[in-house]
């Protein structure tokens, strides 16, 4: 009888968990990530939290039982850098290009409206004081739309959590950790509202080099440097004014600097080895804790020792460099691009070996099959499966300082779980159930033809 109920729960998709008391997944293989694998055990969840985990914890009398025979329970996957939930989000900048040429880190123009700024034919910026492409005060948590259909898609791939960022602009705003529950109140999704400032050096769509400041990579870097100098000064003046306003000229309120000062870490784009070197030095100069994202050339022998030396964690894009789809038959690919395609997926294994803290981000790969194939490439290139799992669970939680509440299967942590038939990242593995904040979801049926990158639900014409 209990089995029948469990089956019903599985089938009906949307959870009843709120009203249900406890749920116990029994006889399943459990991969807690933070400890050894339990080959047959039980996870008990209640009120959105993991109540107990072990080989044979006492079952609460009110628990709904889920028979986990033949299934494996993992912590919910975390996408360490995502735009899921953001309206009209730009693709994450660092890996937008294919291949991996020698150009700077830029994104091809995407003609979509910016999320917050409502600039109508603003005069071009002529310097840092105009605060160009800056919305540092924006929090993803304040912008998310619960109706984003990608929430369901990525959940179906096993993601219970995204670290969602605003990605438009030089200082785009702060990312938020979101649990992918279906709720009318977006506040229910937010685990941590402000986890880091997203910085990118993305050219304004269609901008001329004589247009708005900054228009060159060195201009972007100079702008970021000036902003941090300004922020330091702003704080100094503000504090002095707060101590004793009498006789002191009132400092002007600057939301751009407020946003920067409120950020506890920054995300910097770094794909090429040159960029890794440049951004590590830059972060050290700014005295800001930094996470580098991209890592297209992270496989190069110099990358891991550098990252180790600076102690910076990195987010590795799962969108590996690929050969161009319709190449010019006359074009000769550069050796660097060929190597990026060949060796890119060995990056995580090399980082792991060197002891560099890293997490994966999907970079728009949200279809379960594609995700599986992308991770498989890293496994084939030498990454151990448990390290791949860690890079999608506990490592991102640690990088963002929330491993006390998520990232592994431990009593007291948030009940974010993925239950699969077969081992995660195997070709035939199916996600059977997803628990987010203890609420159970069924994976959405995968579309017959995986459309690749971009947002689900868009027409192909839009999704170029």
């Amino acid at each position: 009888m209990r089995k029948l109920v469990a089956a019903l729960v599985v089938c009906c998709g949307f959870a009843l968990a709120d009203s249900m008391g406890a749920i116990a997944i029994r006889n399943a293989k459990i991969v807690p990530v933070s400890g050894p694998v339990i080959s047959k055990g039980t996870v008990i969840i209640r009120n959105g939290l993991i109540e107990a985990v072990g080989e044979n914890p006492p079952l609460p009398p009110d628990a709904w039982i889920v028979d986990g025979e033949g299934m494996t329970v993992y912590p919910g996957l975390i996408d360490a850098l995502s735009t899921v939930g953001m309206p009209g989000a730009a693709p994450v900048a660092a890996t937008a290009g294919r291949g991996g040429g020698r150009g700077q880190t830029t994104t091809p123009p995407v003609a979509q409206p910016a999320p917050v700024t409502t600039t109508t034919a603003a005069p071009p910026a002529r310097g840092p004081e105009d605060r160009p492409n800056t919305s540092s005060w924006v929090l993803a948590a304040d912008e998310i739309q619960a109706t984003d259909r990608r929430i369901e898609t990525v959940r179906g791939a096993g993601f219970t959590t995204t670290v969602t960022y605003p990605t438009r602009g030089i200082f785009a705003g702060q990312g938020s950790i979101l649990d992918l529950v279906t709720s009318d109140r977006t506040g229910d999704m937010v685990v941590a509202p402000a986890v880091g400032q997203y910085i990118s050096f993305t050219r304004t769509p269609g901008a001329s080099i004589f247009g708005s400041f900054p228009s060159s990579l060195m201009g972007y870097i100079a702008y970021v440097r000036q902003i941090y100098l300004d922020a330091e000064h702003y704080k100094l003046v503000k504090d002095a004014y707060a101590r004793n306003p009498r006789g002191i000229e009132r400092p002007a309120y600057d939301r751009a600097l407020e946003g920067v000062l409120a950020s506890k870490r920054i995300l910097l784009p770094a794909n090429r080895l040159v960029e890794v070197d440049r951004m590590l030095r830059f972060a050290a100069e700014l005295k800001q804790p930094a996470i580098l994202y991209g890592m297209r050339e992270g496989y190069r022998p110099e990358a891991a020792p550098l990252l180790k030396k600076y102690g910076a964690p990195v987010l590795v894009s799962l969108k590996w460099s690929e050969a161009p789809r319709d190449p010019d038959p006359e074009a000769v690919e550069t050796m660097r691009n060929l190597q990026n395609i060949d060796q890119g997926p060995s990056t995580p294994a090399l980082l792991q070996k060197a002891g560099v803290t890293f997490a994966f981000y999907t970079d728009g790969i949200d279809q379960p099959r594609e995700l599986q194939r992308a991770v498989k490439k890293a496994l084939d290139a030498g990454l151990a499966r448990e390290d791949a799992i860690r890079a999608l669970t506990l490592s991102p939680a640690e990088i963002y300082g929330v491993s006390d509440r998520m990232g592994s299967i431990e009593a007291g942590k948030i009940a974010n779980l993925v239950v699969t038939k077969g081992e995660l990242f195997d070709a035939n593995t199916r996600v059977e159930m997803i628990f987010v904040d203890g609420k159970q979801y069924k994976p959405a049926p995968e579309p017959p033809q995986s459309g690749g990158r971009g947002q689900v639900g868009e027409t192909p014409e839009v999704n170029r």
């Binding site: 060159s216 060195m218 100079a222 100094l236």
Partner: protein, 460 residues
């Protein structure tokens, strides 16, 4: 016995990896180049040997003592000159060399965007260039900060920087700064005048420079006042740091060299007067194609001139150029260099130098000086490089023939006593590199079945 020196950076490896970064370069501690014709530039020509010790030139002479354990390079029939110095280059930069959005872009710095993997570096090396002044573009009356690099191919960005060289800044006069950001035909024809950038006239360029320098003066005054208060034991709030004005403050204090893009004589005079008004020196006038018209004034100011050998008429302000420009300026006592401003021209600056022997009748040494010791003087690095003298950096180029000849080829290039380019190794290493590339291409070929061409015949 031709080459016993260990090659520190194999060209083949360097083209693929970044060996200097992670690996230790095995520089020979002592090298002796024997039987060479050594054109020292400052000390005449020596038929003999050159000793390199710990990256420096130790001895030059007809007969030298060969230190024990030295690597011997036999350069019989070959020529050695000091490494070529290019006083105007834009290679090794990531992204645009122009921050073109604003007429004063002194907040940006080439230092931030050095790309040590730009293949142009290796190609410049193969043309004998060991040092280059990497400049911001000329889209702005006052451009970005600049710096001098050594072409240490295979090293990381920081290791490329010529340590101790005085940093610079780009100024620009004339067409480029007034046209950039403005519609063709001038502002009067603009449909959207709002987006046009000031200045749009040559007068405006002067005004822009003066205005920026005024701001820098007042910025400096604010900081001086602050520092004075601190010296008196007060605890005032410091003024805001402004990267744009900080760079110009350094110009006013002579701590940052001004390299000014210019063509027309009256504008050259304008800039020299502006500099005199504000009490600093223009370090080099770049291009300076009408410099010959105002050579005395340039000499009186003390500016160097870095020009093209014989490139002219490519725009209106270059119509009055003459190939005798370099020679005339030189004879008037101006320190003159010949530059490339171009990754391709950079690869044969030796023959650019040779042209002043034809146009102006300069000597072989004077010609060579224009791409070696003269640019070194202009960049303030002549104590270190620019000639073959004991104590200087062992930045050397070995040519197979007389280096001012069109037929001369660079055989080897040393920087700090380390071989960074070796023609033999480069050529012999190519098949292996091509094979490696072919392997990767084959590996990545899509495994689709080939379309059939014949009428059912299976053979190919």
């Amino acid at each position: 016995m031709k080459t016993r020196i260990r090659i520190a950076v194999l060209a083949g490896v360097a083209a693929l990896g970044w060996p200097g970064f992670g690996l230790k370069i095995a520089a020979a501690e002592t090298i002796v180049i024997q039987n060479a014709t050594i054109l020292t530039v400052t000390q005449g020509t020596v038929h003999g040997s050159l000793v390199v010790k710990d990256g420096k030139i130790a001895e030059v002479g007809e007969k030298v003592m060969v230190p024990q354990g030295a690597d011997i390079m036999d350069a019989a029939g070959q020529y050695v000159i000091p490494g070529i110095i290019d006083c105007h280059s834009h290679i090794a930069v990531d992204g645009s060399v122009n921050e073109g959005s604003t007429s004063v872009s002194s907040m940006v710095d080439i230092r931030d965007v050095i790309n040590p993997e730009d293949i142009a570096i290796y190609r410049a090396l193969a043309g004998g260039v060991t040092t280059a002044n990497i400049l911001h573009g000329s889209a702005n009356a006052i451009g970005g900060k600049t710096l001098v690099l050594k072409m240490r191919w295979g090293k990381d960005a920081q290791s490329m920087i010529f340590e101790g060289a005085v940093p610079g800044i780009k100024f620009a006069l004339g067409e480029n700064p007034k046209r950039a950001g403005n519609p063709p035909g001038g502002r009067g024809f603009s449909v959207q005048p709002v987006t046009a950038r000031y200045p749009a006239t040559r007068m405006g360029v002067e005004d822009t420079i003066r205005e920026a320098l005024n701001q820098a003066k007042s910025y400096k005054a604010d900081w001086d006042a602050y520092r004075a208060k601190v010296a008196h034991g007060e605890q005032p709030i410091p003024p805001r740091k402004d990267l744009k004005l900080e760079a110009l403050e350094e110009v006013l204090e002579g701590k940052r060299y001004v390299h000014a893009h210019c063509y027309v004589a009256d504008e050259i005079l304008m800039l020299l007067r502006v500099a005199d008004d504000y009490g600093f020196k223009i370090r080099t006038l770049q291009h300076v194609l009408e410099g010959y018209k105002v050579a005395d004034e340039i000499k009186a100011h003390g500016a160097g001139a870095s020009t093209f050998s014989d490139w002219w008429a490519y725009k209106e302000e270059a119509y009055d150029a003459i190939p005798y420009n370099a020679a005339i300026l030189q004879k008037k006592g101006v320190v003159v260099s010949l530059n490339s401003d171009d990754a391709e021209l950079m690869r044969h600056l030796n023959t650019e130098a040779a042209k002043v022997m034809k146009y102006g009748g300069l000597s072989e040494t004077e010609a060579l000086a224009m791409v070696t010791i003269n640019p070194a003087r202009q960049l303030g690095i002549d104590k270190r490089v620019g000639s073959i003298e004991p104590g200087k950096d062992a930045d050397l180029v070995i040519y197979d023939k007389y280096p001012l000849s069109d037929y001369a080829k660079v055989e080897k290039v040393l920087i700090d006593g380390t071989v960074y380019f070796d023609r033999d190794k480069e050529v012999s290493g190519r098949p292996a590199k091509e094979l490696e590339k072919k392997k990767l291409i084959d590996k990545q070929k899509p495994s689709e079945p080939r379309p059939r061409t014949g009428g059912g015949r299976g053979s190919e």
